[in-house]
């Protein structure tokens, strides 16, 4: 990479301001609020309409009734006037049941006396204002209540005979009609309110449906699928949301990729000088006998740290590929027992004669392991085993036991050797260390994690990435890794890989 070819842009400066949080909702849920708003709106509107309808109808009925009653009163009043004009007319008789007004509820004021057709409804039932108005010479009407039932009282002055004629009309029937109308309107308002609430619920559900799509996309992004995008379709209202969301994921993807690429580029660029260093240290090793003892010690230090540096660059590159989501499995079918045995053999220290010393512990294999074919990425599986062995050697006083077994153990012989989905192969590595406290076990798989008790690097040979890579490799295979206490003290690292692996990475649990 030449100058000006820097793959990463300016590194964003992290400001010290507090993270901004946009509160999306207060109290009730969005749907509940929309539903309530619709219901309240429907209620207000339907009540208003019902009220207007009721009062208009009432007024119309009343006017109609009043008109008809008034015509009757005038006709009756004319009869009474004519009767009073005739000589020897008796008001008492006139208003009586035998008079010209049978069936009507009338009150007559004549010659300073009051006469009524009914004992119960007489002058006392007439409001004074109406009496005064009519006796003053002006016809009038008023709605009154007689014995709890509404009555329309109409009065007509008869100045020719110096009398006044009043008549009562029952409004019970009209009142009943209006009550029925009011009840019907109230029921209609209630139905409208419920319908409004239902409409609100449906509409909010419909309006929120795109949010479900956005939620799904956000979950996918959170799950690492950074190329997830949403589509607004033709909906102009949603286009803004969609483009903002897509912009966000694009920026996120860009940034993550840039960071991962940076790590990858750095480790990549380090390879050229490392190649030169490794080759020249190799040359110096070849001329070891020509060196002074001091130079030889220096060369050993150089060689050791060069080896560690190379491992670190390799591990960083590996980690960056996991971070960028570009780690690919290259699946092969292997004999797990054999692979672990080879890895254990390869982990044995190289003696001064250039040969590996024999390993003090054998690899134990459980039933059904020999001859089993396991679909794994050979390189990654080998690194998992090697890193676990290295961890035990560098930080826990060495390996005491390595076991490869099937879990759960296979049934009687004769069953096919492919396993059920629940079956897995277990690689167990036990060490002679002091054991790991339960609260530290999960942290142990974090990058560059140093145990709380050590406070410093326990060994200068590790890269600090070994166990986190174990976790990543295992996760890529849909497996899991965990730590338990070994029976004889020390820790037991357990790696479980599913027997039937189809190449889709699972969760680390």
């Amino acid at each position: 990479m030449g100058p000006g070819e820097s793959p990463d842009g300016p590194v964003p400066v992290r400001s010290s301001r507090r993270p901004r949080r946009t509160r999306l909702s207060e109290g009730l849920g969005l749907r509940a609020r929309v539903t309530a708003t619709f219901a309240i709106g429907a209620f207000a509107l339907s009540t208003l309409m019902a009220g207007i309808t009721y009062f208009t109808a009432r007024q119309t009925y009343l006017n109609e009734r009043q008109g008809a009653d008034q015509r009757q009163v005038f006709a009756n009043a004319l009869l009474v006037q004519n009767a009073l004009r005739s000589p020897g007319a008796d008001a008492e008789q006139l208003i009586g049941s035998a008079g010209p007004l049978p069936g009507s509820l009338s009150v007559l004021h004549s010659g300073g006396h009051w006469y009524a057709t009914s004992i119960s409804t007489g002058q006392s039932a007439l409001p004074e204002s109406l009496q005064g108005l009519v006796l003053g010479g002006t016809p009038g009407s008023q709605i009154i209540s007689v014995g709890g039932s509404p009555q329309l009282a109409i009065g007509v002055p008869l100045p020719a005979v110096r009398a006044a004629y009043f008549e009562f009309f029952s409004l019970d029937e009209l009142e009943g009609t209006l009550r029925t109308l009011a009840f019907t309107l109230a029921a209609a308002a209630l139905v409208t309110t419920i319908a409004g609430a239902a409409l609100g619920r449906w509409a909010s559900g419909r309006a929120l449906r795109p949010l479900a799509g956005v939620t799904e996309a956000a979950v996918a992004v959170a799950g690492g699928e950074l190329d997830t995008r949403v589509e607004a379709g033709d909906d102009v209202d949603l286009q803004e949301l969609a483009s903002a969301f897509n912009q966000m994921t694009a920026n996120l993807q860009d940034r993550i990729e840039r960071e991962a690429r940076f790590t990858s580029d750095v480790s990549h660029e380090l390879r050229s000088p490392l190649t030169t260093l490794t080759a020249t240290v190799g040359v110096l090793e070849g001329h070891r006998s020509e060196l002074s003892p001091r130079a030889r010690s220096a060369l050993d230090l150089l060689d050791g740290d060069l080896h560690r540096f190379t491992r670190m660059v390799d591990d960083l590159l590996e980690i960056s590929r996991f971070d960028a989501g570009s780690a690919e499995l290259s699946l092969d079918e292997v004999d797990p027992g054999e692979l672990v045995r080879r890895a254990v053999a390869a982990s044995a220290p190289v003696g001064p004669d250039g040969r590996r010393s024999t390993v003090a512990f054998p690899v134990e294999t459980g039933p059904g392991v020999e001859g089993l074919r396991l679909r794994v990425d050979k390189r990654r599986f080998e690194r998992v085993v090697a890193n676990l062995l290295e961890n035990a050697t560098l930080y826990a006083g060495g390996v005491t036991r390595v076991v490869v077994e099937r879990h759960p153990p296979p049934g009687p012989a004769g069953e096919p050797d492919h396993g059920t989905p629940a079956e897995c192969i277990r690689v167990v590595v036990e060490d002679r260390g002091p054991g790991i406290p339960a609260n530290e076990r999960d942290h142990l798989f974090e990058r560059f994690y140093r145990g709380s008790r050590s406070g410093q690097r326990a060994s200068s040979e590790g890269t600090g990435l070994g166990l986190s890579l174990v976790a990543e490799h295992v996760r890529l295979h849909g497996g899991a890794v965990r730590i338990e206490d070994a029976p004889g003290g020390g820790s037991r690292f357990i790696v479980e890989l599913p027997l039937s692996f189809d190449g889709v990475p699972g969760d680390l649990t």
Partner: protein
């Protein structure tokens, strides 16, 4: 003394490789570009070529193909990363093997030795092997198909011979790596896969539907009888 051609654009790496390989007893010729490599090879053929994949101008793949067009010289390509498609592409361009930077000189030397050993004529006394219209003359290192000579690299020849010597038997990738490349268990199975693919294009009537070199899923390869 075997002549080794190093094609590498980084001057320091080139010098360090020269030092290391000279210490191993090889005669080293180094060039910094693919074009120079081709002209150097034409002037005086080397016995093995180490080609860096990332070269300015004519890249490693093209250099590899150019050398392969005129020779079966063993080629080891040098890649920065082992997990990329570069490895497969390099093998498909005709390389016999690959090493990843940074490599340990001793390991590189071991691979060079294995390849050079293989490129010497075999002292095998086995007779001519025939299957279908294919004929393998082990002593002469010649493969014929329908009487016409097929140009195979040494590695391809070794691979075909190994399969042909055990007709009908399934040979695992590990076995083939060990026998043909001289590798231990951790060798890269892609070496076998790509070479099998290349071999098929040379001897199969329809390489997409092989009749002779069959893949046994999860097990390896076998030569059908």
């Amino acid at each position: 003394m075997s002549r080794i051609l190093i094609v590498e654009d980084d001057k320091r790496i080139r010098s360090s490789m020269r030092l290391a390989l000279e210490d191993e007893g090889y005669l080293v010729e180094d060039v910094s570009s693919g074009e120079e490599a081709v002209s150097s090879f034409n002037e005086e053929p080397c016995e093995l070529a180490l080609i860096d994949l990332m070269l300015p101008g004519m890249d490693g793949f093209e250099t590899c193909r150019a050398l392969r067009r005129q020779s079966t010289v063993p080629i080891i390509m040098v890649t920065a990363r082992s997990d990329t498609h570069d490895v497969v592409a390099g093998l498909e361009a005709g390389a016999d093997d690959y090493v990843t930077k940074p490599f340990v000189a001793k390991e590189l030397a071991a691979r060079i030795r294995a390849l050079l050993r293989r490129s010497r004529p075999e002292e095998s006394g086995s007779p001519v092997i025939r299957f279908g219209d294919v004929e393998i003359e082990a002593d002469a290192g010649v493969v014929r198909r329908g009487g016409e000579e097929v140009h195979c690299t040494r590695t391809e020849f070794r691979l075909l011979s190994e399969l042909a010597e055990h007709p009908g038997k399934v040979l695992s990738r590990e076995h083939l790596l060990e026998q043909v490349w001289g590798y231990d268990y951790f060798g890269d199975g892609r070496l076998v896969d790509v070479h099998v693919r290349r071999l098929r294009t040379k001897i199969e009537p329809d390489p997409a539907n092989p009749r002779f070199i069959l893949t046994v899923r999860g097990m390896g390869y076998k030569l059908a009888v």
